[in-house]
């Protein structure tokens, strides 16, 4: 039964190759997208930290997104 599952009655190469191509490509795109998102979050935080205290407070006050990114980064740490 296991051998049938692996060979897929002679179509194993095509079936497994199809599923592998799909899942490897999707995994690569997922990792790349997540990495880019993290990089942008990190860059945003770096830029935020570089501001003067007054500018930083103003930015946080006016931007809920900035607050959320900061909160998420403190949660992660």
């Amino acid at each position: 039964m296991i051998s049938n599952f692996i060979t897929m009655n002679g179509y194993g190469l095509y079936v497994w190759l199809s599923f592998s191509v799909v899942f490897i490509s999707c995994a690569v795109v997922y990792v790349k997208t997540k990495k880019t998102l993290k990089k942008y979050e990190q860059d945003f935080l770096t830029e935020l930290q570089a501001l003067t205290l007054e500018e930083k407070n103003k930015a946080l006050e006016n931007s809920k997104v900035a607050q959320q990114i900061l909160a998420a980064s403190s949660e992660a740490n």
């Binding site: 599952f5 079936v15 997208t33 997540k34 998102l37 830029e47 930015a59 997104v65 959320q68």
Partner: protein
Amino acid sequence: MLKIFSSSNIYFFIQKLIKFINSIFFLILLIGLTFALVLSPPDYLQGDAVRIMYVHVPSAWIGLACFSVITFLSIFNYIFKIKNFYFINKSIAPIGLLFTCLAIVTGSLWGQPTWGTWWAWDARLTSMLALMLFYIFYILSFKFLNKEELIIKVSSIIAIIGSINLPIIKYSVEWWTTLHQPASIKITGSNSIHSEMMLPLMVMLLVFLLYAALIFLMKYKTEIIRIKKKNIKRS
């Protein structure tokens, strides 16, 4: 009312949605794979090669759906200048390209055991290849053009011209004699696919849709951060 659609609310909603999709994704993927690779029966003609359908068909559907959305939003953006649509399109295009490429590759892998060839220049395959090229041109317009207005103009034109190809893909199997089989699943009319194959196909479609949504949300979130970063000193 419009405050609901502010970037901060959207950002908050995206974060919640990403967490939700992450929490259910692997369970649905496991169910989908079990159905597709173990529980669904082999085809009476194609044998186990039919299992390729569970990755090929959802990929093709999503590839087509993404371009339809892009076209629709491009037209709206071109007329009403809604900037958000531009960012949505920018986030959707790579997903559409990925799934169109996967549909072509898995189609080729399905074609070899069933038709005896990896590729044929028939109407369905060629029109799918054209869709892939339209996606590439569309994405390149974002990469190589600098002015946002010009990008919107050029990308909208590419999307509108590319949309002519969508009905060609859909009806190519009816208009011309092709190696590709006619549609087994129809929105209107009866389906020529057994429920034992239909269920795994729908579960795998759900898996692919969830994955596409996840990538879209992450890309869209990246776009929001990019804009906020640009405006950080102005806020």
